[in-house]
Amino acid sequence: MATTRLSSLLGQRRNGQGRPLHWTDVAAYVYLALGVVLMFGPVLWLVMSSFKTESALLEFPPSALPFAQVEVTVPGQPQKLPLFRVTLPDGTVRQLAQVRRIGLIAQMVDPANPSQQFRVAIDKREPVRHIALATENYGEPLQRFAFLRFLSNSVFVTLVATLITLLINSMAAYGLAVYQFPGKQVATIAVIGTLMIPMTIILVPVYLVVTELGLTNSLWAVILPGAATPTGVFLLRQYMLTLPKDLIEAARMDKASEWQIYWRIVMPLTLPALAVLAIFSIMWRWNEFLWPLAVLTKTEVYTLQIALNAFQGELQTQWHYLLAMTVVTLIPVALVFVFLQRFITTGIGSTGMK
């Protein structure tokens, strides 16, 4: 199924299926392939790297796959020794374990015969490697750093904030789309105008407000300030404007209260737009960094993004944990996209109108 689809996709030609390649076909495929690499390259790199050991990450030149050097136990040595493939001066190639390295000379031993020692120039040896997934990158932080706590904080913030956003924005949009009142245009423009104010500018005033309300170090401090988004209001308003006016008037004739019209008629019909806004809101909230960093200072209220930041210390960064946990934080958003994405394109198209 998937392969036939893929082959039919790749079989597309300018003049129809199965025709010879036109130069525009080549251009199109090159362009699309470039897009795929640009989009998926970094993600793939991230996932691959997240399985590398700390030392493999620092290796130069970097390798694509997570390799690890083979280590062997040699009798008489307290620790495991790394294994190398060594070209000896007589031209023979042997696998030797390195005991220690002094300057440009490595002191090596044959694991099969520990009494025999060699002194080898370091450019004459090559590490023996095997593919190894460093799953401890995932396991350790999940246990040691209360990552599940951060995860549940993030989930709470994302879900509650998205629900509040959908509710508040749809109410504002309903007012701006359905009612006629003086100053309606001004109100709409004012809402959209706030799009031009960057978060960084209002960071301090909002922080002061949140502090005055005693919300610092509470998840509500992250949820509430951003609940009303101009983008959401605008998106929903534009969609609601396309709903036939007759439907709302029919509901009025049917003795529906304004709340019922909003909740039982307009909201269900705005579902496609609500889904789009939900996806946006989930992404915004999940990835939000600057604001939570400002208002959340206690570890127990950290969201994932702030927790990830904690791996990045002043002096050293624990890349292996950082990368692995970044992958973990990506998974929920990716899943949301997979399941809600169809709502973006498909709407409740038929409106019951001719």
Partner: protein, 360 residues
Amino acid sequence: MAELTLTGARKSFGTINVLHGIDLAVKDGEFIVFVGPSGCGKSTLLRVIAGLENVTSGEVHIDGERVTHLPASERGLAMVFQSYALYPHMSVAKNMAFALENMGLKPAEIEARVARAAAMLRLTDYLDRKPKALSGGQRQRVAIGRAIVRDPKIFLFDEPLSNLDAELRVATRKELAALHAKLGGTMIYVTHDQVEAMTLADRIVVLNAGRIEQVGTPLELYNRPSNAFVAGFIGSPRMNFLPAVVMSDDGTLRLSVGEREVALPRAASGLVAGANVTLGIRPEHIDVAPDNGMLAATVDLVEQLGGETFIYASAPGLPQITLREDGQSQFYRGDAIAIRFAVDHLHIFDATTGAALARP
């Protein structure tokens, strides 16, 4: 079941006046049709009655109660929209039940009412379907059902048949008439189709440019239109209007029509010699004369419908004249014919104001 009274109802949108003082009394149980060309204000008038638009000035009374500023939801009226306006996300049953739920009825009562309306409109098998899974005619019936279940004081219909094809329109028209006979409610119906108006109405209100031109039963409007507009609007094909000048009116009305002089034996009706008038005569009241007739004309076009024939003929100095003949015709394009008017059915209108000067 209710009476409706409009007194001096005016409506303007900004500087545009749409209704110029409408006075109308609708009796209980009456089927009233608002008819007029598009843009005449008939839909606005209906929306004013519904409460979807507020009057700029004037009063609306339902059953003697002043409802002028009452919102639509509190007037107790039901409306069928031109677009049907079915709630697309609700099943047929839910569509019909929505208003009843809003009225706070008990579920059992709602179910019973929906079932009764569905049976009446042959929708019982479709109750679980969504509107998009219905045909145009079925959607139309759901829209009507949504009004019926409410048991409203007045039913309002805004061009409900205009989205149906011709055949279905005739069938639904008959159903509506039967429905009115059965329910007996007060119904107000807006249409631009004079056939719907003629067939459905107890009384027709002819509107033009925001004013009522005439109110009367279909045959009153057909037989005795009070002005040229009504005369032209009611009846299909429309009435022939021929410019004429009065020569004398003393027992025999002598008129100069086109290049001919026509003498019509009829009682004097006080027309002044030299007055410019418009002669109105319906196609069915003109026929081909065996002798010289009143006017000589040339056949331009013949429309053979089998049961009847329309002949379009031109006479010198006159607009094209339409004749209706029973049965099938022997005339062809280019034939010279003599035509005559049925004098008893002649209308004479003032050439400038259009007011009827002499009616049959």
